[in-house]
């Protein structure tokens, strides 16, 4: 692509800013995409990759900044505007109608569609497109009959049918088997050969190397690096992606681990789609210890927290808490055995947005005195309890009766943290507890975790942020593909080595595996 340098870029985004309540999702981002180029957007969850592409495809509007397509300034107000400009996005969650055929889905929502479309013509062009890009799909098949990989092809065909020149793929390989990923790569290469361009969002280094010509690394809404793939390697990318930040000052007592609190032996579990998410995972965690689980999102961390808390069935293997078997116990039984859990999805799971701060705070302790008496609930006691917690954890809320969803992300997290810490017996599981929080809130969350550890509790901390793990945890384990691949003390651990483990690279081999 050397000769494109002085041409007008196909896409140019300048100074894009976009905020969501409590989060700066995109902060002065510049992006260029040349004709016939494949650009990878790399970054952790919440780095702002999807936001940026949602702006390009008309789903969001930027707060400030400009978008130029083929050198012309454009205002993309809706996905339809984007389609008119030749931009097509394939979302992580497919937007297909299960009960309709492939052909029907392909033409669905096309503005130029006649009232009674000639489906024979549509089917013929689908078959032609399929042949051209080597991704055949039966146009008469119903979506529900197709595998996830095939459904993705339908999504791509849909965009190609609309003559998309710029294809945006949001984590396309997350749902694919290695074979399907390989085929996808082939499709993208064929498109590229025709002069089409693609942006694909990922957080996997090996895919960047395989798919892309150029890579942009985002962190916390900002571009932190931009490289051509020829000039980089996975190791380098891993380092850039996780970054090195100013370490927070964490007051930590000496590491004096006690008895084993949590023990997992060869645990296997499936994800929602029935694919293996945990593969014979073994871990152990002692009282007074913080075990940090590092790893790129989607390698089984959420499932790990869910099997421990009884929210996800264990297929094989065993879990014990305080030497008592807790495999496949109900969530309530596990709560009663002294386990607290700060879930990764704070709005959908951790808190109930439409209920008050007070009710959210009481959501674990309501089962016993002083909040309840027999079957009765004592609202005044809930308020007393909430006031106490609000001041103890510095939760900024207009009143205990405010609905939780109107608090900032940090204060929602503090509410959850307050409740979980208050009710914690011996084990605290915190999944991405500081994700999306500002510096102040992040620091207070981290200090609380350490305080729990100092009080002799066992803490399991799942994080994507290596710095967080290195500064907070006593021990680190890296999760990759459902396994714990490296367990080491954080003291003296090499962040670079952890980064490589996260990328699925064995540091001792010092070689890329694809």
């Amino acid at each position: 692509m050397e000769d494109t340098a002085n041409e007008v870029p196909l896409v140019e985004m300048r100074g894009i800013c976009k905020s969501f309540p409590g989060v700066r999702a995109s902060d002065e981002v510049d992006l260029r995409l040349e004709r016939g180029e494949v650009l990878a957007l790399l970054g952790e969850n919440g780095a702002g990759k999807s936001t940026l592409m949602n702006i390009l495809s008309g789903l969001y509007r930027q707060d400030s900044g400009d978008v130029f397509i083929r050198g012309e300034k454009v205002d993309i107000r809706s996905p339809r505007d984007a389609a008119d400009l030749g931009i097509g996005m394939v979302h992580q969650n497919f937007m297909l109608i299960d009960t309709m055929t492939v052909a029907e889905n392909v033409v669905l929502g096309m503005p130029s569609l006649p009232f009674v479309p000639d489906m024979a013509v549509v089917k013929r062009s689908i078959l032609e497109l399929g042949e051209r890009y080597n991704m055949t799909v039966d146009p008469d098949a119903y979506i529900w009959q197709l595998s996830v990989g095939e459904q993705q092809r339908v999504e791509i065909l849909k965009q190609l049918y609309r003559n998309a020149e710029i294809l945006v793929l949001d984590e396309p390989t997350a749902v694919l088997t290695p074979q399907e990923s390989h085929e996808l790569n082939d499709v993208v290469k064929r498109m590229q050969a025709e002069g089409k361009s693609a942006v694909f969002i990922t957080h996997k280094m090996d895919e960047v190397m395989a798919f892309a010509d150029r890579v942009m690394v985002l962190r916390k809404g900002r571009v932190v690096a931009e490289k051509t793939t020829r000039d980089t390697d996975p190791k380098d990318l891993a380092r850039v992606m996780v970054g090195r930040e100013v370490l927070f000052h964490i007051e930590k007592g000496p590491f004096e681990p006690g008895a084993v609190v949590l023990e997992l032996k060869d645990v296997c579990a499936d994800d929602e789609r029935g694919l293996p998410a945990l593969r014979e995972l073994s871990l152990s965690l002692r009282a007074g210890e913080i075990l940090g689980i590092a790893g790129v999102a989607g390698n089984g961390q959420r499932e790990l927290s869910e099997v421990i808390t009884g929210l996800r069935p264990v297929k094989s293997g065993g879990i014990s808490i305080n030497c008592v078997d807790s495999t496949n116990k109900t969530p309530l039984q596990i709560i009663r055995s002294g386990v607290s859990h700060i879930p990764s999805d704070r709005m959908a799971v951790g808190a109930v947005g439409d209920m008050s701060v007070a009710n959210n705070l009481a959501m674990k302790d309501y089962r016993a005195a002083p909040i309840s008496k027999g079957i009765m609930l004592l609202p005044r006691r809930i308020l007393e309890f909430a006031r106490k917690m609000i001041s103890a954890f510095n939760i900024a809320t207009p009143s205990p009766e405010t609905r939780v969803k109107f608090l900032s992300g940090g204060n929602i997290q503090k509410t959850i943290l307050a409740r979980e810490i208050e009710s914690c017996g011996s084990l605290l599981i915190a999944v991405y507890p500081s994700r999306g929080l500002d510096i102040g809130a992040t620091e207070s969350v981290r200090n609380e975790l350490v305080a729990q550890r100092d009080a002799g509790k066992a803490v399991l901390l799942v994080s994507e942020d290596i710095d967080e793990i290195l500064s907070v945890a006593d021990t680190v384990a890296v999760m990759y593909d459902g396994r714990a691949v490296g367990v080491m003390p954080t003291a003296g651990a090499d962040p670079e080595e952890i980064g490589l483990l996260m990328a699925g690279i064995d540091p001792s081999e010092k070689e890329t595996r694809l």
């Binding site: 969501f20 989060v23 999702a25 969850n45 919440g46 702002g48 999807s50 936001t51 949602n54 008309g58 789903l59 969001y60 509007r61 205002d75 107000r77 809706s78 808390t309 929210l311 109900t330 969530p331 309530l332 039984q333 596990i334 709560i335 009663r336 859990h341 879930p343 999805d345 704070r346 709005m347 959908a348 799971v349 951790g350 808190a351 109930v352 947005g353 439409d354 209920m355 009710n359 009481a362 959501m363 674990k364 309501y366 089962r367 309840s372 079957i375 009765m376 609930l377 609202p379 405010t402 609905r403 109107f406 992300g409 999306g436």
Partner: protein
């Protein structure tokens, strides 16, 4: 520039008071325009309607006669709706409970001690209502079958089953072949308070108070609230979502069933045509207008009952066709229901495209 609805940060207290008043006035104005088209004086019509519904002791008791089944089914429906379980089968639950209570009154009365007859009718009726609601609840919680359709279809099953009984095996042998069971023995009659208003009124008030207490002052109520707002969060808190939905829907069916027992034991004193008259469907409107608040439901039910009873006056006094009366009832409700939107939302001007809610995960 377009307009969009934006959810209010807190439910505005002024809006709670002002919105129903404004929508009520809007209803009267709109309906008044309709009446004028048909050549009737709106003020005179409203006065006649009010008088017909609340103007005398007798009128009031007739309004209460309607309000009893409306508030009971309204309570049942509201309980299920709070869990986002769309029970639109109150009509069927009411009917089947009426059938069950009839069975007790007709066939158990010879050997059941008289003082026990009514309590047993109530229990069996409630159980029948609960069982009828239990079918969709089980299908929903076990097999994830959509409850809306199932509850709706079961209405017709229950209604046709009751018809089968009073046209067929339960038909009064001394009734000259006309459809309807024989009259219940006197011990199976709900005592009447005034006019035709029967003790079902007390049951409805007690049910409202108890339901409010359960929902707001007990641990179970708290759990139901969490489930209704976020089943995922409930599961995470160790609350058994399926079991509690099942229990609550059974209770919902039982309360709707109580309405059916009241209708057969308190009003018709036999099973015959016109057992329900659509109370189970009107209950949905009652429940929403009361914002699913059990304490508000009896009041809304009285208003609704008044609207139904007062609607007769449109024909009787104003001499308009019955369809105008029904049209008016619809027009009075429409702004009221639309108005409730404004207690939760306000209109906001937005530039360009519609604002989309961002999912936290997508950032």
């Amino acid at each position: 520039m377009t307009l969009a609805f934006e959810k209010r940060k807190t439910v505005s207290r002024t809006a709670i008071v002002v919105v129903p008043v404004v929508s009520f006035v809007a209803s009267l104005v709109l309906t008044g325009a309709l009446l004028m088209i048909f050549g009737a004086n709106p003020l005179a019509t409203y006065a006649a309607m009010f008088k017909g519904a609340f103007g005398s002791g007798r009128a009031l008791t007739e309004t209460l006669v309607k309000a009893i089944p409306l508030s009971l089914t309204g309570l049942g429906v509201a309980l299920a709706f709070r869990l986002k379980f769309w029970n639109i089968g109150a009509e069927g639950q009411l009917t089947l409970a009426g059938v069950a209570a009839t069975g007790v009154a007709l066939f158990w009365s010879p050997w059941l001690p008289a003082p026990l007859l009514l309590p047993v009718m109530v229990l069996v009726g409630c159980a029948a209502g609960a069982a009828w609601a239990g079918v969709p609840a089980l299908l929903k919680t076990r097999l994830n079958v959509d409850e809306t359709l199932v509850t709706l279809m079961l209405n017709y099953v229950a209604i046709l089953f009751s018809e089968f009984l009073y046209y067929g095996p339960w038909r009064d042998p001394k009734g000259f072949g006309f459809p309807g069971t024989r009259m219940f023995p006197k011990e199976a009659w709900f005592p009447r308070i005034a006019g035709r208003a029967h003790v079902g009124l007390y049951l409805a008030l007690v049910a409202a108070a108890v339901l409010w207490f359960v929902l707001n002052r007990t641990r179970w109520g708290f759990e139901l609230k969490v489930i209704g707002n976020s089943p995922k969060a409930a599961r995470y808190q160790g609350i058994s979502v399926e079991r509690n939905i099942l229990l609550a829907v059974l209770l919902s069916g039982a309360i709707c069933g109580l309405a059916g027992v009241g209708e057969v034991a308190g009003i018709s004193r036999r099973l015959q045509q016109g057992l329900s008259l659509g109370y189970g469907f009107t209950a949905i409107i009652v429940a929403w207008m009361a914002q699913l608040n059990p304490l508000a439901i009896p009041f809304v039910a009285v208003l609704m009952g008044g609207l139904l009873v007062g609607g007769d006056q449109v024909q009787m006094v104003m001499g308009l066709p019955s369809s105008i009366g029904l049209l008016m009832q619809g027009m009075i409700l429409f702004p009221m229901l639309a108005g409730s939107l404004f207690t939760e939302y306000r209109i906001k001007r937005v530039g360009g495209q519609a604002v989309r809610e961002s999912e936290t995960g997508a950032v």
